[in-house]
Amino acid sequence: MGEVDMSNAVEVTAPMASSDAARETKFHTRGVQVFYGEKQALFDVDLDIYENEVTALIGPSGCGKSTYLRTLNRMNDTIDICRVKGKIELDGTDVYSDKIDVVHLRARVGMVFQKPNPFPKSIYENIAYGPRIHGIATGKEDIDQIVEESLTKASLWNEVKDRLDEPGTGLSGGQQQRLCIARAIAVQPEVILMDEPCSALDPIATARIEELIDELRDNFTIVIVTHSMQQAARVSQRTAFFHLGDLVEVGETGKIFTTPQDQRTQDYITGRFG
């Protein structure tokens, strides 16, 4: 647990009003601080992520929203100089504690990246990779089923069902990103983290992914980082605004965009900076 840095007092809107009572908390994070070497990238972030909901993290570039996202499934572990302090609980267990295994954690909390990164293998093998390494499915039939289901859920099945043996890298950018989403789904995670999944895509492909995100909400908890406020407004139920490593404001998406409480949020959404 990191000590609270008083000089960096953070304004955080109090977590949710009464209408949210029915939701279950998936991630419960308090006082999250992240350091890259000497440099501090996140200051005492307190944020809850609710189940079966899309939470959007917005803010100007370099504000720490991706850094926060990557603490949720400990992807920051892959960076040598990165240190994380604070409480990050998934279903009540600290993900940085010994009780949680990082491999298991990432199987439960999948991730989709900014640039589509299909493996240089066939479409089929891309999907089958996760279930195989985790031993979720072993027989050919099981895997076939998972591949079809995942691709269907990622609304890619109809486009690729006849060419599952072709390399995943041969698909268009939007298809590649949906393949990556399907690849994440195939492991049957509880949460899917998306790090600006549409930033490398054209508007039409972006619209398809956004539709997909909305459909996936029924089955998964989704956290999406985006620099597009319109996208946040379109796909998310809740929005958190980050600025210079601080979580400035969090609330229902509608409220954040119509009646922001903080001056900085207001400046950002009205386009004064960003």
Partner: protein, 444 residues
């Protein structure tokens, strides 16, 4: 709560949760095995690195432990009377008389005098075998350089033959059967007696650093080969550095991007990977057979090695030139400098540390190269220290090869010692290159 309502029919949500839980369990079950595999794989990696490093350690420790004895040499201290009647009976002090006098007899007699009880011819010969043939030569040198010494008795420290040197160092010992070693029991006894009398001592083997090759291990040195290497490297440097830099400058700064330059580029890359022995064949066919240049000469060796190092230097120089940012060229051009002036005044000086680093590394490669030099006859047995680039010579690595091939036990230590010296040069050169790179490394 959404799943608070329990019914017999599972809701889609429940099904999903079920599956997620099952998947989660599968993952948890697989974990132990997977972490074991992970640890195993990592251990393979560490093992591979460890094995490679162990090879270095074994290699170096073998060479050093077998090479160290070569740096000392056993010597016997004898009071040699430079008898007038043996050296110069007529007293003419004629030079050829002095050179051709029987110094062997002088030193042999002195040694025999230590053991008056040895009489038979055979025993006498066995006893005098203790002395190196270089002992007589040493006395000859002494007398010819200063004839006034004749008639005096001098206390001289004379080299011991290689086999007895090895006995003194314990390499040859009584553990082996007498017929299997080159020093007999009787000889050992004599030698031990001499040792007890305190006239055998181990001294720094200066001969090793001041002599050229010899058939007698105790007289063999590396100076000849080192000088040969020096001359060869001078020729190599004088050819490959200017040509390499000029070629790199042209290709990087001036060459139009056309087919010809493309061919040159591919060609240079391929040349860098041609086996070195092929360069030796080139040298033999072209330089020696076609142009009739002398065999065994550092001139030809240097030319062959220059062609071999050229690609290395060109590639390194081009990389160094490429690293100079275009803004500097533009700035100079903007001031009205010609393109040639831009290169000679600005780009080349800035790229020079990189070019020098590449050149040193190329030269280090050339210094350690053996195979092509065998082809052009630098493998001859050469007793004289070469004085120029057309004298017959050999080089350090070839000397190593020659000694490694010699049957005498004592050459094993000398081979290792020569390797140690060769490696010292190479390490110094590489250290210089690293230093240069560190000192002038510049990020643009």
């Amino acid at each position: 709560m959404t799943d608070a309502v329990m019914t017999d029919v599972q809701t889609p949500d429940q099904m999903r949760r079920d599956r997620a839980a099952r998947a989660s369990n599968a993952v948890r079950r697989s974990l132990k095995k997977r972490y074991a595999a992970e640890a195993r794989f990592r251990a393979y990696g560490i093992g591979a690195v460890g094995l490679a490093l162990a090879c270095i350690v074994v290699l170096f420790s073998t060479i050093i432990s077998s090479g160290l004895p070569a740096f000392t040499q056993s010597a016997i201290t004898l009071n040699v009377e430079l008898k007038q009647d043996v050296i110069d009976p007529e007293g003419t002090r004629d030079k050829s008389t002095l050179i051709n006098a029987n110094y062997r007899k002088l030193v042999f007699d002195t040694l025999l005098a230590e053991f008056p009880e040895v009489t038979g011819r055979r025993d006498k010969r066995a006893l005098t075998a203790i002395l190196s043939s270089g002992a007589a030569f040493q006395v000859q040198q002494l007398v010819t350089s200063d004839p006034s010494l004749i008639g005096q008795t001098l206390e001289l420290s004379l080299p011991v033959a290689a086999d007895f040197d090895l006995y003194n160092k314990g390499v040859i010992n009584k553990g082996t059967a007498e017929s299997d070693r080159r020093v007999s029991d009787q000889q050992m006894a004599w030698f031990d007696t001499l040792k007890e009398r305190g006239i055998i001592e181990s001294e720094l083997n200066t001969t090793f650093f001041t002599n050229a090759d010899s058939r007698e291990p105790e007289l063999a040195g590396i100076l000849g080969a080192a000088m040969g290497s020096l001359f060869t490297m001078l020729v190599t440097l004088a050819l490959s550095f200017p040509i390499g830099v000029c070629a790199a400058v042209y290709l990087e700064e001036f060459a139009p991007k056309n087919r010809l330059t493309q061919i040159i580029e591919v060609n240079i890359n391929n040349l860098a990977a041609v086996p070195s022995i092929v360069f030796g064949l080139l040298g033999l066919a072209v330089f020696i057979n076609f142009f009739g240049l002398p065999r065994s000469a550092p001139l030809v060796g240097g030319m062959v090695l220059a062609l071999m190092t050229l690609p290395t230097i060109i590639i390194a120089s081009r990389a160094a030139l490429k690293a100079v940012p275009p803004s500097i060229r533009e700035a100079a051009l903007g001031l009205g400098a010609s393109r040639m002036q831009v290169v000679t005044h600005h780009v080349l000086p800035l790229a020079m540390p990189g070019i020098l680093t590449g050149t040193i590394i190329g030269m280090a490669q050339a210094l350690g190269e053996t195979a092509p030099l065998l082809m052009i006859g630098m493998v001859a047995f050469i007793v004289d220290i070469p004085g120029g680039i057309t004298d017959p010579a050999t080089v350090l690595p070839v000397q190593v090869y020659l000694w490694a091939d010699s049957p005498e036990r004592a050459f094993v230590a000398r081979t290792s010692a020569a390797i140690m010296i060769l490696l010292t040069f190479l390490i110094l050169m590489n250290a210089l290159a690293v230093l240069l790179r560190k000192k002038f490394e510049r990020r643009w």
